[in-house]
């Protein structure tokens, strides 16, 4: 130990220290005077609602944005980070929420990109191959170096992102919502990898809004709210409830509060629905179920097991090959002539799974989005097909008020609302028509806790008003807390049906994994 002095200093200095970071985008103050310490070798969680400023803060740390004010210290040294190159030099690596991978490149090419050793590729690729073998061994980060990215599962793609950072010798790793796209098994593997990295002395910052993950693997946690850092605590001295409160600034119900269902007659009935895609692959196989008035039927399943097709057929977006859909006992058209407009007249409303692609016109204003699909309502349509603009805006204002959409400005473009508020716009449009049947896909995907609670309440209220609700979600907790009955889809078929009060995560998980025998 000849080097005790420097070693001692490096030990004591925090890996990351932020002082007074501020950043504004136009009039929006995304980060306000933020200070943060992260100890070396720790896993530090940052939680907050959508739009709280977590991603902005990390983008500043990674040199994607320049902060308006403030200083960054890495290992105790003042380190200006004007661009990503500087961040990489300072030993910071980032795994973005949406992967930054070139999809038709191999793993090796992606790892090497931007960290080549010379003008020729061959030696760089050979070196990377060696390094990847070592890293794979050290951290359980196995990926075939010659595989093309688009052929890899999401979990493996994420490993490539981590490998990219480690190949650049990152000591500090930032992960932005890493588990949002992973299966539970993949998430467990990721946490093992993070544990290995921590054991090697790497510092990890984990951005998430899943409180369970924070409690499970972090050493310390910071809460952000409206651009400010509201609290930083050791994880052992806090709990999920407290963090949730700090995030939204008030008490939230993590459990949905609802009365037992009193279901009536079947409003929506699906019989032997089957469909193949253009390649001839069976997407739905003989799916049958019914949803009764005053009942929420949850459709659980790993994404891609036919849930999307089911919603699209019932809502009239795409045709089925065979089977029947009955509303109030009357069969409706599910052939090629079906269209969503006819469905609306039959009292079916649809909150699509992907609000950006199917739920909203992102570049249109909020008021224009609040009556989409209902243009022919006499309240909205004047003579000669002109819009009754004033009526529509007035109606939009009421919806905004009732659904607490923020900011309460009907003339703001949809893309300028946060995820939760965008979802509220879609929900307001569909629920306010008082439909008999509501189809909801992923109602709270990418939505913050405050909005989740609100959306759940609205769905339950509609149920209590005697409507039938078909809820498709990949979030098992959401399915379990909202539904009265649950069906599980696997490989295009219904793998099982359970009473929501008499089942649990484990049993549904087995059905979702196609192990119906063991679940029974």
């Amino acid at each position: 130990m000849s080097d005790t002095n420097t070693a001692g200093r490096a030990q004591s200095a925090p890996a990351i220290e932020l002082k007074g970071i501020s950043k504004a985008f136009g009039p929006v103050q995304a980060n306000k005077d933020i200070s943060l310490h992260v100890a070396k070798g720790a896993i530090h969680g940052i939680v907050g609602e959508n739009g709280a400023g977590k991603s902005t803060l990390m983008s500043i740390l990674y040199g994607f944005y320049k902060s308006d004010a403030g200083e960054i210290y890495i290992n105790g040294d003042l380190t200006p980070i004007p661009d990503s190159q500087a961040a990489i030099k300072a030993g910071i690596g980032m795994v973005h929420q949406h992967f930054k991978l070139v999809e038709n490149f191999t793993v090796l090419e992606n790892v090497v990109l931007g960290a080549e050793d010379g003008a020729m590729l061959k030696p760089s690729l050979a070196k990377a191959r060696d390094v990847l073998t070592t890293l794979a061994h050290e951290y359980e980060l196995d990926v075939d170096p010659d595989a093309v990215i688009e052929d890899l599962s999401v979990g493996h793609q994420q490993r490539v992102e981590i490998l990219k950072a480690l190949y650049r010798q990152a000591d500090i790793l930032i992960l932005d919502e890493p588990t949002g796209v992973l299966t539970p098994a993949e998430a467990d593997h990721l946490f093992r990898i993070l544990g290995n990295l921590k054991a090697e002395g790497k510092t990890i910052i984990l951005i998430t809004h899943k409180l369970r993950e924070i409690m499970a693997i972090t050493d310390s946690v910071s809460v952000m709210r409206r651009g400010e850092m509201t609290a930083t605590k050791p994880t052992s001295q806090t709990n999920a409830q407290e963090l949730a409160e700090l995030m939204v600034g008030r008490q939230v119900l993590l459990q949905v509060d609802k009365k037992p269902a009193s279901p009536g007659a079947a409003l929506l009935r699906v019989e032997n629905l089957s469909v193949r895609d253009e390649l001839g692959v069976e997407k739905l196989r003989n799916v049958s179920f019914e949803v009764r008035a005053g009942e929420i039927l949850g459709v659980a399943g790993v994404a891609g097991n036919g849930q999307s097709e089911l919603l699209e057929i019932i809502s009239g977006i795409s045709p089925a090959d065979s089977g029947k859909v009955l509303i109030n006992g009357d069969a409706i058209d599910i052939g090629k002539t079906a269209n969503p407009n006819m469905r609306r007249h039959r009292g079916i409303a649809h909150v699509p799974e992907d609000r950006h692609r199917m739920g909203l016109v992102m570049s249109n204003m909020a008021w224009e989005n609040t009556f989409l699909g209902y243009q022919d309502d006499p309240a909205f349509e004047g003579s000669f097909g002109f819009m009754r603009r004033e009526n529509i805006i007035e109606d939009a204002k009421q919806k905004i008020e009732r659904f607490d959409i923020r900011p309460p400005n009907p003339r703001l473009k949809a893309e300028n609302f946060s995820g939760g508020n965008q979802q509220k716009i879609v929900l307001a449009r569909e629920i306010e028509r008082n439909p008999d049947v509501l189809l909801v896909g992923q109602p709270t995907r990418g939505v913050d806790i405050g909005a989740i609670e609100f959306i759940h309440k609205q769905i339950v209220a509609l149920r209590d008003a005697g409507k039938a609700i078909l809820l498709v979600s990949v979030e098992l907790d959401e399915i379990l807390s909202l539904s009265d009955r649950v069906i599980v889809m696997f490989d295009g078929a219904v793998a099982g049906e359970r009473d929501a009060t008499k089942t649990n995560n484990k049993e549904l998980g087995m059905l979702m994994a196609g192990m119906a025998g063991e679940a029974a």
């Binding site: 991978l101 038709n104 990109l113 080549e116 020729m120």
Partner: protein
Amino acid sequence: MDLATILQLFDSSLRLATPLLFACLAGLFSERAGIFDIGLEGKILASAFAAGAFAAVTGSAMLGLCAGLVASIMMSLIHGLASITFQGNQIISGVAINFLASGLTALIGQNWFHQGGQTPPLSGSGRFQSLTWPLAEKLNSLPVIGPIYKELISGHNILVYVALLCVPVTWWVLFRTRFGLRLRAVGENPGAVDTAGISVTRLRYQAVIICGILCGLAGVYLSTAMAAGFGREMSAGRGFIALAALIFAKWKPVPALFTCLLFGFLEAVAIRYQSIDLGFGTVPVQFMQALPYILTVVILAGFVGKAIPPKAGGRPYVKER
């Protein structure tokens, strides 16, 4: 059809394919970097004019070449400025380049030389002359090999050989160098390049400038090698045919060579067989002239299979929030 005719046909295919090949590779560099370039045609035309004019005035083909390259690179930089720096629509910018080149060459040409937009005919050192390879005459007496060597391999101007050389060079740059890796990456996912700490803007400008140089060579070839002087609209849609060839070749350099040779061959056939007597009637000359274009449409519509362009092509890169 005797050997001499076939050789002549192939010989002129090669000559006609050369400008297409330059332009096709030009488009390849640009589009692989994510910048769609519908303005190849305009760059070729601008370069052809500048080369023809300067070669006529100075009497030097090399000075003509320099002028052609400068003109084409200038056009490229306009496209770069519009589509990279100002994040404008790449198709609109490309169309504007085409109009700009068409108008400017006619206007400047008329004001300068007063010959209806043409430049004065070139001769001697004002043109790129054919190079006769060693032993061409001596070997000519050998059966088959002799004429092939003399007609097909020897006897072209330097630019034809440069174009052919550009194919392996392009392949090597694209797939064997760091620059090529980054270039391909920026056309597929500029976000990956940006987060790796590499400047997207700089890479795309480099690609656009290479595109300018190659288009420049195509134009220089037209007015100072294939023809002896510039004529109005002499690019005659070659920039668009090159784009078609690029799609046909699926943005790969070696297939680009063969596609350009095929299009060159079709053009050569059309020129040689102006009208073919089929016994019950003659095929009109117009049909033969239209044949390359008709075949282009047919080939593109039916025989290419799925051609997937670079994923980020046509979209300006904006950092996401």
